[in-house]
């Protein structure tokens, strides 16, 4: 075989192999947790719903990407991203220096603060927490806040899901929980949350929520562009209004 023929054959093979990839819409696999209402949760019919899921779908529409959204347990959600089980995490994840060492983040898509939640009947105050038992979800900003700021004064209990922390607050094993303010706001309005209230002022920790993407993945630019688009054309505001009567951006 002459060199020319060989080159031609190689080009043909390359073209055949790469063609299907070039033609199909980009496939993007997105993970969310599915246990963090109203941002991401699984409804009665077993479907993923919530603010994060709506945002993910809106972004995919702008990116013209073919997206699949999967549920993934929280404390394995970054390892799963790094192991290429999916390409992005849209799960109300706070942008932190620790996480930024292992993954890249998009521009923030909403802001969060922390707050204490305790029973209405309790005299609990964030000003005097000595000796109290306080819970939070493991591997969250709230959990880190507890460990970093209060570990020497209180007993810290860490839960696999926010729901389990709520259950133990209801059972009386916990004096209070530290939680992200927005999902707690939603829970307090629910039937289960009737006997509880916010205690003290919200704790502003400059907590920005972003989309996690593997380091140096080009998907980040596309996500940022799509985010700008939905902020500009009112899609974001419509989704926001579905869940909260005030802007959370």
């Amino acid at each position: 075989m002459s060199l020319k023929k060989a080159l031609a054959a190689a080009t043909l093979v390359a073209a055949t192999v790469s063609a299907p990839f070039a033609m199909a819409a980009d496939k993007v696999r997105i993970a969310t947790e599915g246990a963090y209402a109203p941002f991401n949760f699984i409804d009665e019919s077993g479907k993923l719903k919530g603010f994060d899921v709506d945002i993910a779908n809106a972004l995919c529409e702008k990116m013209k990407a073919d997206c699949t959204i999967v549920a993934q347990d929280w404390d394995g959600i970054i390892p799963g991203l790094m192991a290429r089980k999916y390409d992005a995490v849209i799960a109300s994840m706070s942008i932190t220096p620790e996480r930024s060492r292992v993954v890249d983040f998009s521009e923030p898509y909403y802001s969060n603060s922390l707050i204490f939640v305790a029973p209405k009947s309790s005299k609990f105050s964030p000003k005097s927490v000595d000796g109290k038992v306080i819970g939070a979800q493991r591997a969250t900003i709230a959990g880190q806040y507890l460990e970093d700021n209060l570990a020497d004064k209180v007993t810290v209990k860490l839960y696999d899901t926010q729901d389990n922390a709520y259950l133990d607050l209801a059972s009386g094993r916990l004096d209070a929980i530290v939680s992200d303010q927005l999902p707690a706001y939603d829970w307090l309005r629910s039937e289960d949350g009737q006997a509880f209230e916010f205690k003290g002022e919200k704790i502003d920790i400059d907590d920005k929520i972003g989309i996690a993407i593997r380091k140096n993945d080009k998907l980040r630019e596309k996500m940022n562009k799509a985010l700008q688009d939905i902020l500009a054309d009112g899609t974001y505001d419509r989704i926001n209004a579905k869940y909260f009567p005030f802007s959370i951006y």
Partner: protein
């Protein structure tokens, strides 16, 4: 994948703390489990039908449902009821430590009872008959013949069960306990190094398993010492 080995050494003291709690949970729940299993097994081998019913239902439930469900029922389930929260049991049931011990003990008791039943039933009939012929009463026979023989027979299978419980004890991490798995997960939540920390935790589990296997070798030799030759048999072939 970049490995960061330092993270293992930095967190080793924490992991060992977790391992200690794991050992404690397995040991205490295992001892309670053995004590519970004895009456269960004896009722199970009883010739009276009505005595068999309770252990049968008990063993059926605890073997037939996952340990995770059992631990959630005890920890999150029981605490939903005001009756329990206001009862005298609440100081115990509010502690995740005791919830784990109770669940593990009840769970392992079901398995041990079934092992013990099988062992009792597989004691050669002749040995029981010999004991009866000597005029032994049932309690004496139980103490001198049936139970020592049954323990010897079930020992290898029981060693297996203890190792299964060691691994099952990882579920304690789901009810806020910082056992070896819980500690590993909490460290990973800060360091994002699941491979390194889980590898370290896995090796610690392996070491504990190895110790348990060694312990049970010794127990087997103790209970079955009558089956071993005192002296090394020599020239057996030559005699034929």
């Amino acid at each position: 994948m970049n490995w960061t080995w330092d993270v293992i050494f930095e967190n080793l003291p924490k992991l060992l703390d977790g391992a200690l709690l794991t050992l404690e949970l397995v040991l205490i729940s295992g001892l309670i489990g053995v004590m519970l299993s004895l009456p269960l097994a004896l009722m199970r081998v009883s010739k009276r039908r009505w005595l068999q019913a309770f252990p049968f239902a008990y063993i059926f439930f605890f073997r037939g449902t996952p340990l995770l469900i059992q631990i959630f029922l005890v920890y999150y389930g029981a605490s939903q009821f005001d009756v329990i929260r206001e009862s005298a049991l609440w100081p115990i049931l509010r502690e995740p430590y005791w919830c784990a011990i109770i669940t593990f003990a009840l769970h392992t008791a079901a398995y041990i009872a079934e092992l013990l039943r099988g062992a009792i039933q597989s004691i050669p009939k002749g040995e029981i008959e010999a004991a009866k012929a000597l005029g032994m009463s049932y309690p004496l026979m139980l103490r001198r013949i049936i139970l020592p023989r049954a323990f010897g027979i079930m020992m290898p299978a029981y060693g297996n069960e203890v190792i299964l419980m060691l691994k099952g004890s990882a579920l304690a991490s789901t009810i806020t306990l910082l056992d070896l798995t819980g500690m590993a997960r909490t460290i990973i939540a800060r360091t994002y190094t699941p491979l390194e920390i889980f590898l370290a935790a896995g090796i610690i589990y392996l070491i504990i398993s190895a110790l348990i296997i060694g312990l049970f070798r010794m127990l087997e030799n103790h209970f079955n010492r009558h089956q071993q030759a005192r002296e090394k048999p020599q020239d057996l072939d030559a005699q034929h």
